[in-house]
């Protein structure tokens, strides 16, 4: 047991790689492509079970609030260490990754028919990279996983995607790579900035915890222009990943063209890397700049919420509709984060999980109908509630969760975010028609919820209710046991997280308040700054 808990995070990162090798070995020796999905499923499930240890008592918690920490030198010449650890912020994201992966593997059960070996290898490698992103505490190692996660996704979209897959895959790669490369420059800059602290140690460091403490203690400070550029280099990488309006254009393409499993992972986990990165790195390393630029992020978030919803309304393709709804939902998360209130930030973290569960489930459901009808056009469907009652029930349920119906998960997150935004002081001093901007922002966010109801319910109505207009829809088979089985955990989470959010919020609280304290140390000081 000790062996597992001491190396827990390393095991979580390494096991999928072992799984990938096992898939390859299985194929080379037995040449049974049909069995590969079982190998992948077993490895993802074991990884999920092991990840449950994260919820156990971590034993020792470091002064910086991280547990299950490991810190081993990696490349001594440039002083970079394999430093991993989780806190309340990353804990649930890791768990969601390990939960979504077996579900994604199950969703691909029959959908992936060609090049099966490579598919499962890429899926497993992707899992490794994603877990690595959430647990790395060394900036260079973080960057490494952040970039490494691109390659498997690039292949997943490019090989197993739809008709326009090449365009979508290349666009996905170049957009995200461009952003993160500038972050690399900023990371190296931080290394030397630390080395250059007067009276400090001579060696620079990539260690996030060390850098964060130096910034908290004000020993590491930046000239105004340098600080802004560093902040923007980090922020751009994450804003593209989120994707925040106006960097969102790669998302609808990537989502629409990706295979179902790819879309689920993209929505549930890959996008969270952006919001996670902003909160973990931008807020803590550049608190001053984060406050300074918060209004812009809030404006972009509001535009994203409204614009995403409006565009989603007119989509004829179900998957594209869900993709644009993602843009809107991610806007909510950004809004909550940049309110710099505990409620807002807690809500944002919660909403990251909610979005993963609800939107992931929506993509799965769209995938089910695509497998049966080979189309996702709303116009081709209609009246599906009749032949597929279970499917319809699940879909309506998931839509409600995505809209944010009370007692379902979406409500808790969105409510906290709006509450936080309302209470936020970061926009004090900005007025419009006599109202404070935070009031206006909250109102826009509220409108976004209504819009979400409009586009989702309208889609539900057109797809599931009314008369069956297309004869092909008459004889559709309802969900199989496998499909029901992989939906049930998500449906359960929607209810559970909606009714009883405490276990989740309790565990995130200390990490979030710590970040909040760092980014907004004295409320009064910020107001004065915003007015400047």
């Amino acid at each position: 047991m000790d062996l597992i808990t001491e190396n827990l995070l390393s095991i979580l990162i390494a096991l999928p790689v072992v799984g990938a090798l096992a898939v390859l070995g299985h194929q080379l020796f037995w040449k049974q492509e049909g069995q590969l999905k079982w190998v992948a499923l077993v490895f993802t499930l074991i990884n999920f079970l092991i990840s449950l240890f994260l919820l156990a008592d971590p034993g020792k918690v470091s002064a910086s609030g991280f547990f299950f920490e490991q810190n081993v030198p990696w490349i001594k010449a440039i002083n970079t260490n394999y430093h991993v650890g989780v806190d309340g912020l990353s804990l649930w994201l890791v768990l969601m990754t390990t939960l979504i992966m077996p579900i994604a593997v199950l969703s691909a059960w029959n959908a992936i028919e060609k090049k099966v070996t490579a598919f499962y290898i890429f899926m497993l490698l992707l899992e490794s990279a994603m877990i690595g992103v959430f647990v790395s505490l060394d900036l260079l190692v973080f960057y490494l996983f952040f970039e490494a996660s691109l390659i498997p996704m690039f292949f997943l979209i490019g090989v197993w995607g739809g008709d326009n897959r090449i365009y979508a895959a290349v666009k996905f790669f170049i957009f995200t790579a461009l952003g993160s490369l500038l972050m690399l420059v900023a990371i190296i800059w931080l290394f030397y900035a630390y080395a250059g602290i007067p009276g400090g140690t001579a060696a620079g460091t990539f260690d996030f915890v060390v850098l964060a403490n130096a910034i908290k203690m004000n020993t590491l400070t930046f000239a105004p222009l340098t600080g802004t550029l560093l902040f923007l280099a980090f922020a751009l990488a994450f804003a593209i990943k989120v994707p925040l309006f106006p960097f969102h254009t790669w998302l609808p393409d990537a989502h629409t063209e990706a295979p179902t499993a790819g879309s689920v992972i993209l929505a549930a986990i890959l996008l969270k890397m952006g919001t996670y990165g902003l909160m973990r790195f931008n807020f803590v390393l550049f608190p001053e700049q984060s406050r300074e630029w918060a209004p812009l992020f809030i404006v972009f978030a509001i535009i994203g919420i409204t614009y995403g919803a409006l565009v989603a309304m007119v989509q004829p393709d179900m998957k594209r509709l869900v993709a644009y709804s993602s843009v809107a939902h991610m806007g909510f998360i950004i809004l909550g984060m940049f309110s710099f209130t505990e409620w807002g930030m807690q809500g944002a973290v919660y909403q990251m999980l909610n979005h993963g569960v609800s939107t992931g489930a929506l993509f799965l459901l769209v995938g089910f109908i695509y497998e049966r009808r080979h189309t996702r056009m709303i116009g081709e469907l209609g009246g599906l509630a009749n032949p597929m009652p279970i499917y319809a029930t699940f879909f309506v349920f998931t839509s409600m969760s995505s809209i944010g119906l009370p007692f379902l998960n979406g409500f808790v997150g969105e409510f906290l975010i709006m509450l936080g935004m309302w209470k936020s002081v970061i926009l004090d001093g900005y007025h419009m028609l006599g109202w404070n901007w935070n009031t206006v922002a909250t109102m826009f966010a509220g409108t976004g919820v209504i819009f979400a109801a409009v586009y989702l319910l309208w889609m539900v109505q057109r797809v599931f209710f009314g008369k069956i207009t297309n004869a092909k829809n008459r004889m559709l088979a309802d969900l199989s046991y496998r499909e029901i089985g992989l939906m049930v955990p998500l449906l359960f989470l929607m209810v559970f997280m909606g009714v009883y959010p405490r276990p989740f919020l309790d565990r995130t609280e200390s990490a979030v308040t710590e970040i909040q304290k760092r980014v907004l140390p004295v409320a009064g000081g910020v107001i004065a700054e915003a007015e400047k």
Binding site: P73, W74, I75, K76, A77, I78, K115, A118, L140, Y143, L144, F145, E147, A148, L150, I151, F154, F155, G158, V159, R165, I166, A169, V170, F173, I174, A177, L178, L181, L182, L184, V185, I188, W189, F191, Y192, A195, G196
Partner: protein
């Protein structure tokens, strides 16, 4: 009179230390043995390859021993240097040549190339490259450069009946001679300004040169000469034609070896020979000028190389332009070495350039190996279209080639990524605005380069093949080369700690090269 006395004393007891140039000698000897053996027993390609490889391995072992052994710091009256620059780069050359011999097996078999000549020339070229890295004197560097160049001129035209290959050889020869002339002129002017050809001496005299103007003009001419050999913009125009026309293994060799050799001499002359001397106006002016000039050249090289590579439809041409771009990235580390404030930082920056060259060489040779293999006779299949949909037909080859492309692009866990991080680091350390801009341009260029490196992956994996695809037969030599390259790319990407430390280990002060 005094000079005569020293000259006389040297004649009686020459400062000859065979052990200091042992690796070079072993390589040259292996080349001679291969050549002589070939003239008596022709067409024994396995034997000559074996002789050459054995020579390279012995040289590598000796080189490894020299890293730690107590070798005299200076030999031949200060003409041969023994420092981390020499050792690191020599290691790169030996690896490049060994891989070239292995990947050329396909080409030699397919086209019935006179293997003995080829192997001997390759070894002589390697000897020249090693001399360029170890030479601490302008004359020795020039000797090395010419030994290298003449061998490569011949190798580029090895396909005697192929017009393109002849064109490549001719073009390379004429333009290369022109560049050599510039270099020699530059060296002469430097000699005129400082009265010496020894780099260490030059470094101590630039603070107060005889003719400051000659110093600047000489440096400018040498930038042109070395810039040509390293294929930097605007002295790159020969590269695409020569790289496309030369046989693929030779192209791979030229992109990896001679380029690294040019960088070795280039680094030694500029970073060690023209340092910033506190309080000296002439040296300061020279330093500022060459840093600025090379910054501009670096920006141009990266940008032109990458933008032009996007437009290519031939993979060899694409790799040629990509090699230009990589020379630009390496220049970033070069600039970092030039602006380093102390000897340890400077050595670390030089090591980063050597590591970059190592990473680039191993990746690039792997890529050229596959291009050779798939190109068949006379490199007929070297267009992007020829690679359509082969990804899942020949998965081992295609995934290896993808790995090489990702390493060239600089994706983490590959050697290319570590190389990029290492060369960007010293440039940012200086905190110099110009260098920071150069680094930002470099990363933007990396994003541009994603387009064409990914294009090959897209073509191989995401498109369907419409025409027949015959699995190529992979000879043992090629298999070995590819395995070495794949493992090398991953190893240097993940476990690079040891090699970087070794490359950047500064020699103990007592062993730092001094003139006599």
């Amino acid at each position: 009179m005094q000079i005569d006395m020293i000259f006389f004393a040297e004649l009686v007891t020459p400062n000859v230390s065979i052990s200091a140039i042992l690796p070079e000698l072993v390589v040259a000897l292996a080349g001679i043995v291969a050549m002589v053996y070939d003239s008596f027993v022709p067409d024994q390609r396995r034997v000559t390859a074996g002789i050459s490889l054995a020579g390279l391995i012995v040289a590598t072992v000796i080189l490894g021993a020299m890293w730690t052994a107590d070798v005299p710091a200076s030999a031949f009256g200060g003409m041969i240097a023994h420092d981390n620059l020499r050792l690191g780069f020599s290691f790169v050359f030996l690896l490049v040549t060994a891989l070239t011999i292995l990947i050329s097996t396909v080409w030699i078999e397919n086209e019935n190339v006179p293997a003995g000549e080829f192997h001997a020339l390759l070894m002589f070229a390697t000897f020249g490259m090693m001399l360029m890295a170890s030479g601490n004197d302008l004359v020795v560097m020039f000797l090395g450069l010419e030994t290298l160049s003449i061998a490569t001129y011949v190798m580029a035209g090895f396909r005697k009946t192929d017009l393109k290959s002849n064109e490549a050889s001719m073009k390379y020869f004429i333009l290369g001679s022109f560049a050599s002339a510039f270099l020699l002129y530059g060296m002469a002017l430097i000699y005129g300004a400082t009265g010496t050809t020894n780099i260490t001496e030059i470094a101590s005299r630039i603070a107060d040169p005889n003719f400051p103007a000659l110093l600047l003009i000489g440096a400018a001419m040498m930038i042109i000469g070395f810039g040509f050999k390293a294929a930097t913009v605007p002295f790159h125009v020969w590269t695409p034609d020569v790289y496309e026309g030369a046989p693929s293994p030779v192209t791979g060799f030229m992109a990896a070896g001679p380029k690294a050799a040019a960088f070795a001499s280039f680094l030694r002359v500029f970073v060690i020979g023209f340092p910033l001397v506190a309080g000296a106006q002439a040296a300061g002016y020279l330093h500022e000028t060459w840093i600025t000039a090379l910054s501009v050249i670096a920006i141009l090289t990266m940008t032109v190389g990458n933008v032009a590579a996007i437009l290519q439809n031939n993979i060899k041409r694409m790799l040629a332009y990509s090699s230009i771009a990589h020379a630009g990235y390496a220049l970033v580390g070069f600039l970092g070495a030039g602006t380093a404030t102390d000897a340890a930082d400077r050595d670390a920056a030089i090591a980063s350039v050597a590591f970059y060259m190592l990473a680039y060489a191993i990746t690039n040779l792997g890529a050229f190996g596959i291009v050779t293999l798939l190109g068949q006779k006379n490199d007929r299949r070297a267009e992007f279209e020829d690679y359509n949909g082969i990804g899942f037909r020949s998965p081992a080859l295609a995934f290896s080639l993808s790995l090489f492309m990702l390493s060239l692009l600089g994706i983490p866990l590959t050697a290319g990524f570590m190389g990029k991080v290492l060369v960007f680091r010293p440039a940012l350390e200086a905190g110099n605005t110009l260098l920071t801009i150069v680094v930002v341009v470099a990363v933007l260029n990396t994003a541009i380069s994603a387009y064409y490196y990914l294009r090959l992956i897209v073509v191989m994996f995401f498109r369907e093949r419409t025409t027949e695809w015959a699995q190529p037969r992979i000879p043992a030599g090629m298999t070995a080369a590819l395995v070495i390259a794949v493992i090398g790319v991953l190893y240097f990407g993940i476990f690079s700690s040891g090699i970087i430390e070794r490359f950047s280990r500064s020699m103990p002060a007592s062993r730092v090269v001094s003139n006599r």
